[in-house]
């Protein structure tokens, strides 16, 4: 599948934004976030800006971006529509949490309840994002049990890393807790990603050129002539092959940049705090986002679609 940069930016940025808001809501409910008046609104603001930038980027992928508002109408059947609805609904508890933090106080039951509510909406939105891909039968690398947990874990990881990067500018204690959460989510995310890669490498597609053409009873089938002499939309969109060629190298880059380096920086930053922490924790967040961008690029580039069977390519 063609890795459209706008869609990759959308899933990574909005995943980090919702992950950050999720952890802020949860950790504030447990009373372990900085109580400062402006920490909450700034953190919620950063999270929602990340999520909003992602959502805006996703419209660049559309042929008719000016009609994007129509996408919220078919939530009964379409995961893309549900994602749109969930992301819009999530603004309500986020805005209320934003206002309650300075007005009622971070420790107030109101702020805590709103934080938890916002966290629930964040999980729902990320699940919808993952299901856009997880529901597509023709793409075996997307429709499997690893996709939703992976999206959730990676949003939790990058979100917690961003929260740690911000919290260090207020108090070292809460930053350490966010960093610890990020390290745990990052380790789980890396394990999930490795399991996903093992799974897609081992699994074979249920469809073959024989089942696609129904000619298998004659023996093996191969394409003799393509319908058109040039590449077409189907092959450009769903027959993307450059990613598969460099998959091995890119997996190492994604693991090193997206997981190993940020986890090391998170541990060092949380241990040292002070000026070193104020450099290391933001760097860890940035590094995680860049690495996950590579990971998400691979998620698209390595995915194959059954239409390519008709063109004599594997899927």
């Amino acid at each position: 599948m063609k890795p459209a940069l706008s869609v990759i930016f959308f899933t990574t940025a909005s995943g980090a934004g919702y992950g950050m808001l999720f952890w802020l809501g949860i950790l504030d409910a447990f009373g372990v976030m900085p109580r400062a008046t402006w920490f909450g609104p700034i953190a919620i603001g950063v999270a929602m800006v990340l999520a909003s930038l992602g959502l805006m980027a996703s419209t660049f992928h559309l042929g008719r971006p000016e009609r994007a508002w129509r996408a919220i109408s078919q939530w009964r059947t379409s995961w893309l529509s549900r994602e749109g609805v969930a992301s819009l609904l999530a603004y309500a508890p986020a805005a209320a949490f934003f206002a309650a933090w300075p007005l009622a106080g971070a420790a107030s039951p109101l702020a805590r309840a709103l934080g938890l509510l916002a966290a629930v909406f964040c999980v729902g939105t990320v699940v919808c994002t993952a299901m856009i891909y997880g529901s597509l039968k023709p793409v075996r690398q997307w429709r499997n049990r690893f996709v939703v947990p992976n999206y959730l874990l990676l949003a939790a990881f990058s979100g917690a890393a961003c929260l740690a990067a911000l919290a260090i500018f207020w108090q070292p204690g809460p930053a350490r807790i966010a960093a610890a959460v990020a390290v745990a989510a990052g380790a789980a995310g890396a394990a999930g990603k490795l399991a996903y890669w093992r799974f897609i490498d081992a699994a074979r597609g249920t469809s073959t050129i024989e089942s696609a053409t129904g000619l298998g009873w004659l023996g093996p089938v191969r394409m003799l002539e393509a319908p058109n002499s040039e590449e077409n939309y189907l092959l450009r969109e769903m027959g993307f092959r450059i990613g598969r060629k460099h998959a091995g190298t890119l997996r190492i880059v994604a693991l090193a940049l997206g997981f190993v380096t940020p986890i090391v920086m998170l541990i060092l930053g949380a241990a040292l705090v002070g000026p070193a922490g104020r450099v290391l924790l933001p760097l860890a967040g940035l590094c995680a986002l860049l690495g996950l961008y590579v990971e998400r690029w691979l998620f698209f580039a390595q995915a194959t679609h059954t239409v390519t069977l008709y063109y004599g390519r594997g899927a």
Partner: protein, 246 residues
Amino acid sequence: MTAIPAPSPGQKKLGLVIDLDTCVGCHACAVNCKEWNTSGHPGPLTDFDAYQEKPQGVWLNRVHTYEAGLGDESRTVHFPRSCLHCEEPECVSVCPTGASYKRAEDGIVLVNEEICIGCQLCAWACPYGAREFDEDQGVMKKCTLCIDRIYNETLPEAARVPACVSTCPASARHFGDLGDPESAVSQLVAERGGYDLMPEMGYKPTNKYLPPRKRPARSFAAPVEDPSPPDAANGVMRWIDRVLSR
């Protein structure tokens, strides 16, 4: 709405039956489809660099050619591929705007280009590659089963079939109601063992493909040559035969 209409008993299911035994791979169906539809319901079917080195564009019907089997038993099979108007079209259920829909009255899957946002999720959801994105118009295009021909009362009745069917010189394409077991197309499917493409996907295509017919066993050994041709009785001919045989 993107909800799939619930099937009713005796539901009309308009579709195509494509005979892979008689298709000669002339691409006339694809060309006539393009010609009709570029000025029809889904038109224009935009082309890029149409007269340059690498022409590209939207086609709603594409004809592949396969080789199936090995050795003496191998066959060349021409294989037209277009929208199958599935009973469970996930291209419709994934559509976020309701632009994609399946008609309850005849089962045709269509796109309302006025509200399509061009997210292309339907193209991802179709296992068969039936949907194409018009990069110029920013919306999706697909086979309409020539909805502007089959119900078109300004056309003579014989012409009220999809453009691909009307143009096929080998009569390899048949159009009709596959929901009616008594229809000519349903009878043809029953008689010839018409089948679904990728049944394992669960989309339940309406269009059916008829398999190439089995061939009688043939010998591919070189024919034994008769040493004396029949006309060799004539003396002159015998002489010519001898001279030319040297």
